[in-house]
Symmetry: C2
Subunit: 258 residues, 2 copies
Amino acid sequence: MILSSLEIVLVRPETPRNVGSVARAGRNFGVERICIVGSPALLQDGAARATAHGAEEILDRIRFCADLEEALSTHVFAVGTANRVRKGKLPPLEMPHALVPELAEASRSGGCALVFGPESRGLTDVELGRCTRLLRLPTEVDQPSLNLSQAVLLTLQECWRAAKGWSQALPPGVPETASAFMEPGGSLPTFSEFDLLLGKLEGLMERTGFRPYAGDPESFRMAARRSLSRGRFERRDLRTLLTIAKTLERLPKPRSEG
Amino acid sequence: MILSSLEIVLVRPETPRNVGSVARAGRNFGVERICIVGSPALLQDGAARATAHGAEEILDRIRFCADLEEALSTHVFAVGTANRVRKGKLPPLEMPHALVPELAEASRSGGCALVFGPESRGLTDVELGRCTRLLRLPTEVDQPSLNLSQAVLLTLQECWRAAKGWSQALPPGVPETASAFMEPGGSLPTFSEFDLLLGKLEGLMERTGFRPYAGDPESFRMAARRSLSRGRFERRDLRTLLTIAKTLERLPKPRSEG
């Protein structure tokens, strides 16, 4: 695990005090990059600074983005956090021992986002659908859910321990397994490269008259994203797929039926 | 690990919001007993309730004690938390993987306290000296230290995982080992039984003219406590020692030299 590849992405956080606590937790476990999807105005009342306690400089370096798409664009892997799945199209929720080894491998290839939703409602299905994998932190009860900064802390501890070579804590009945995410030396495509492919595929499909958008414009994209993420493509695989898509674009457009 | 044997003991907490967060973390990981060494006035402004979020009933059941001695009296085991040791007389700081199995065994015998100090300075040496074992939660940096409720959360997660049969996360180079704390079916003495023995020993030593108290009245007691805690006495062992002490008390008192 390369801790310096990790970025904590807070989507529309509601409580400045939590942002300060997240910065402090980041300092505690060596993850010093935070991105907020939202407005810098959130931090203007000084409440975040009051809880940052020794991690104020992390607050000063926070990156602000307009939406999750922008936040993820240059990353190669994103872990979304949730305590219950709401839609069949989304990837399954995985526990830390299953997901952290993959994250560790991805962190050798490029930036990785740890994505946390707003305190009151968590990430939307569309936002969860943008992530490569979904993490559930197992607890005794799901309600109350973990506080935002507590969820960040537990996630960072897992990452930090992986970085320091600790063994994984495994639930009963789970054997120690080796993960084989990608070949040594392989590199992962970024989210924006991935979106380029998705856009081209959608364009090609539209030419055939395919209209997946009626009623639920994000639905096809979520399903496509899920399928392609499961393939665990390296960057070179994505380049091949892009070449295919670009070639198909040269096909003559069908004449409009109308 | 019997989670219902565990009690979170907060010594002179300074921030009501943290107490609320501790209650929520307790709920998340199935530890619903909190004791505060301090005054109930701390919770009167409603700030604790604001962060408890679904764990308000735990706040309503908080036990208040005047000092740590009272808080521990009926417990059989106490884990003190610190991020650096300040005195040679104290037990060494141990990491969760070393300490949690012992705590799990003790929890089958009686109440066990997880003791956390005030936000600003942590537990005093005297308070740390009262605990059976000392826990350090390993992090990237010691400063800023973990926030109080964050430290509680990480400790509770370790306990919860042990209760659910998870394997221990081990730092690199640490082999999996079996602990042999006490015989099956053995039971541990409570802190007040322990203090009874200590008091008798001190009384006997004073008769001989021993005066350990000059300058540092708690110093001998801390050293004695440390020695006796390392012995890992079960309750029946302590009874034997008490019998010895009571017998020695029948010895004639030496005539005063003055």
